[in-house]
């Protein structure tokens, strides 16, 4: 404490102002006397160290400031007053100091830390109780943010997944305009909070209980006690007391979540898979209960009537999230439904088709079996196609042509046929028909024992028919050609008859033909040529003999010579008409072969040349 200076000391006398200062008064009177009497003043020096007028002047001029200074000094000297004064300016001083620079904080920090430390060490519960309502929301928020960021990454991860379910959910997110992660949560997290217990921590007594279905709950007071006991048991058995509480228990589908407050804990019995955010609901409810009913909870002794309104507060925790049963059936579901319907319809149709096809197939096979020239040896259905194998006579109907009457797709039916010859009469008849060149003049008939041909045909046709007949298998029907006339031989015979009917007349004793016989010779020559041609084409050998005759008048010897001469003349006449003389032989019959035997002979008829033709194979 500083010692006050003389001026201050002088001022300090102020409290004694009421009492008369005699010394001062005497001094003043003495000075007054000196002022009045100049001689006295000259003899006696002033008693004052200085001129009092100066002091007076100072008082008049500076008195106010001096008083202020004095008050200030008093305040500074008195700790109480000083404290009161500083307390008024301290907040703003701290604000200013803090605003200026960091020093205040740096200076204060160690002290504040020490103070807090010692306070916590003295009673940690107090701090915990104070902080828990404040910090719990902050912690929850930070956890919430962490979960949210985790979901974000989950979202990213799921974006890359292309499972059917993932695609379905992505479609739903796109359709409803909600974030994909939300859709995932909606489908994966389905739960129901069935019971909520608010339990006094120390005694395990039930403070309040709410249930989604009150009828289903067993005695909640006992359950609450048992929940506490199990907590204690687990903590005592497996963990030291600092390890905190058991915050979750699972029993099959049932999950018990515990949220802790300073005086009470909340146990929620949940069925299903709750989202982590549900815990936040419980914790914020519990924190709110602690903030609002802190004192009642602190003093709780088993009297639950002290908690009005708590039931409703807890009931807010009875949340549930049902698996979304969208009333509006999703288009995908409709699509699936129609697809299923279409599938069933298609299946039914396919079955019907198959039945129809089977029926048609069986009928077709029967038809094939009945067809001459076709033998079915096997039939099967494979890879949606119909296979038939068997034997088929090349002359039989084409199996494909038989499909016309059946409702079978020709492309589906695949035949595999080995050729063979059928022996049934109709088929033999058919084969014979097919083998022979059709002729207007020949009629083929299928008779009981053979195929018979009737009519006429050229020789070559008959030869071919014989060949066909020989090719027919033994024991099967034969081809009988006896009813067919050989038109070529008929012509040969006709020509021969025509030639042999001709007679060339001669006058008596004349070796040359009578006049007018030229035309006959021409005709014979023509017939001979035709016959030679025909015989050659049929492979027949032919010999023509020109026979000369004489009438019976005259002697035999000359007649013989005459007849021979006549034959020779005709041969040469024929030669001149282009007939090869080598195929013509001549003979003189003299009078030995008259035209008629009997009574009257006409000599003119005997003077002749006749022809005989021998034909051999």
């Amino acid at each position: 404490m500083s010692t006050p200076g003389p001026a201050v000391e002088w001022l300090d006398s102020e409290p004694d102002q009421a009492a008369l200062d005699r010394n001062r008064l005497a001094g003043l009177l003495f000075e007054l006397a000196r002022a009045i009497n100049r001689d006295f003043a000259a003899k006696v020096p002033s008693l004052l160290p200085a001129d009092p007028r100066l002091a007076e002047l100072r008082t008049i001029l500076m008195g106010r400031e001096q008083a202020l200074l004095a008050r200030l000094a008093r305040r500074l000297d008195d700790p109480e007053q000083l404290a009161a004064a500083i307390s008024q300016i301290l907040p703003s001083a701290i604000v200013q100091a803090a605003a200026r620079d960091e020093r205040l904080g740096q200076v204060l920090a160690p002290t504040v830390e020490r103070a807090a430390e010692s306070s916590i060490r003295r009673d940690p519960r107090a701090l915990v109780n104070i902080l828990s309502p404040v910090m719990a929301p902050a912690i929850r928020r930070s956890i919430g943010e962490a979960i949210e960021s985790m979901l974000q990454s989950l979202n990213e991860a799921l974006k890359a997944s292309f499972s059917w379910r993932g695609l379905r959910w992505r479609l739903e997110a796109w359709r409803t305009g909600t974030p994909f992660a939300t859709v995932v949560l909606k489908h994966t997290l389905v739960y129901r909070v069935e019971h909520v217990f608010l339990i006094h921590k120390e005694s395990g007594l039930l403070i309040e209980h709410v249930a989604a279905d009150p009828a289903a709950s067993r005695d909640p007071q006992l359950v609450s006690g048992m929940l506490s006991a199990i907590q204690d048991f687990v903590r005592d058995s497996f963990a030291d007391s600092a390890a905190g509480e058991v915050d979750a228990m699972r029993l099959g589908e049932l999950l018990i979540w515990r949220s802790d407050g300073p005086y009470a804990f909340l146990a929620a019995v949940i069925r299903g898979k709750p989202p982590e955010s549900l815990r936040e609901v419980f914790e914020s409810t519990l924190a709110q209960i602690h903030v609002e009913r802190r004192q009642v909870l602190h003093r709780f002794d088993g009297d639950t009537t002290a908690f009005p309104g708590l039931h409703d507060q807890l009931a807010e925790c009875l949340l549930q999230q049902a698996r979304p049963r969208d009333r509006r059936t999703s288009p995908i579901l409709w699509g699936l439904f129609f697809a299923l319907l279409a599938l069933i319809a298609w299946g039914a149709y396919a079955w019907y088709e198959r039945q129809q096809e089977d029926t048609q197939w069986a009928a077709y096979l029967r038809r094939l079996q009945a067809e001459p020239g076709i033998v079915v040896t096997g039939a099967e259905r494979r890879d949606g196609r119909l296979y038939v194998t068997g034997l088929r006579d090349p002359l039989a109907v084409r199996p494909e042509a038989l499909l016309d009457g059946f409702a079978l797709a020709p492309a589906k039916v695949i035949g595999s046929w080995s050729p063979y010859q059928a022996l049934d009469p109709a088929f033999v008849f058919k084969r014979v028909q097919a083998s022979l060149e059709p002729l207007q003049t020949v009629e083929l008939r299928l008779e009981a024992d053979a195929v018979r041909a009737y009519g006429s045909a050229p020789r070559h046709w008959i030869e071919k028919a014989r060949a066909v007949s020989r090719l027919l298998p033994a024991g099967a029907l034969a081809l009988d050609l006896s009813g067919v006339q050989d038109v070529d031989m008929t012509e040969v015979e006709r020509l021969r008859a025509s030639i042999e009917a001709q007679l060339i007349r001669f006058d008596t004793d004349a070796p040359r033909p009578a006049p007018g016989q030229e035309a006959i010779i021409d005709s014979v020559a023509a017939d001979l040529r035709a016959l030679a041609e025909l015989a050659r084409s049929l492979g027949l050998s032919m010999r023509t003999t020109i026979i000369g005759h004489a009438d019976a008048t005259g002697k035999d010897a000359p007649n013989l010579a005459l007849s021979l001469g006549r034959a020779e003349v005709v041969r040469s006449l024929l030669r001149t008409r282009g007939i090869d003389p080598d195929v013509l032989s001549v003979r003189g019959a003299g009078t030995l072969e008259p035209t008629e035997e009997g009574a009257i002979r006409d000599p003119s008829r005997d003077r002749r040349v006749s022809f005989t033709i021998r034909i051999s194979e």
Partner: protein
């Protein structure tokens, strides 16, 4: 649900705590909890001064040479029943040691001492003098028999009244 009180059943092994509780209440939990968790909880409504009180009974597994009563279960109790076997005087000593430990752990609480198996007169080994000595020490002693039901209701009622009046 109005007033509830947590009451503990304490005592040596096989003195009949569970039988007493079974005599007194209908339980929803199986006795198996006693051997697994070490405690089983039951409830009994009593009327004290025309007010209904729910006694939440914590039947705590008995104490023997190898396992001590879990005093953590006693925390928050409003009172307790100390059960001893009248045919085995040693169980009274166990009861005394439990009583001291509980008092050290959670402080003074109302309690009633039950000398159980009073129906077994032939093997009863606690003399009237011993009982008087206990009473002199400030203990409220009640003879009970879980088999006949003797004294059971009274013991619970006595404790309930002392717990309520002690408030």
């Amino acid at each position: 649900m109005a007033l509830q009180k947590k009451i503990c059943m304490l005592g040596a092994f096989a003195v009949g705590k569970t039988s007493l509780v079974r005599r007194y209440v209908d339980s929803i939990f199986s006795d198996r909890y006693l051997t697994t968790v070490g405690v089983k909880i039951d409830k009994r409504m009593v009327t004290v001064s025309a007010a209904e009180v729910s006694l939440i009974l914590w039947d705590i597994a008995g104490e023997d040479e190898i396992s001590q009563v879990r005093t953590s279960y006693v925390r928050g109790a409003a009172g307790y029943l100390l059960v001893a076997d009248g045919t085995r005087p040693a169980t009274i000593d166990v009861a005394q040691s439990i009583q001291q430990r509980v008092e050290g752990e959670v402080g003074k609480l109302p309690f009633v001492v039950l000398l159980n198996k009073h129906d077994l007169q032939s093997v009863w080994s606690v003399s009237a003098g011993d009982i008087a000595a206990l009473q002199r020490a400030g203990w409220t002693v009640q003879m009970t028999s879980a088999r006949s039901g003797e004294g059971v209701e009274e013991a619970f009622q006595t404790l309930a009244e002392r717990v309520i009046r002690g408030q």
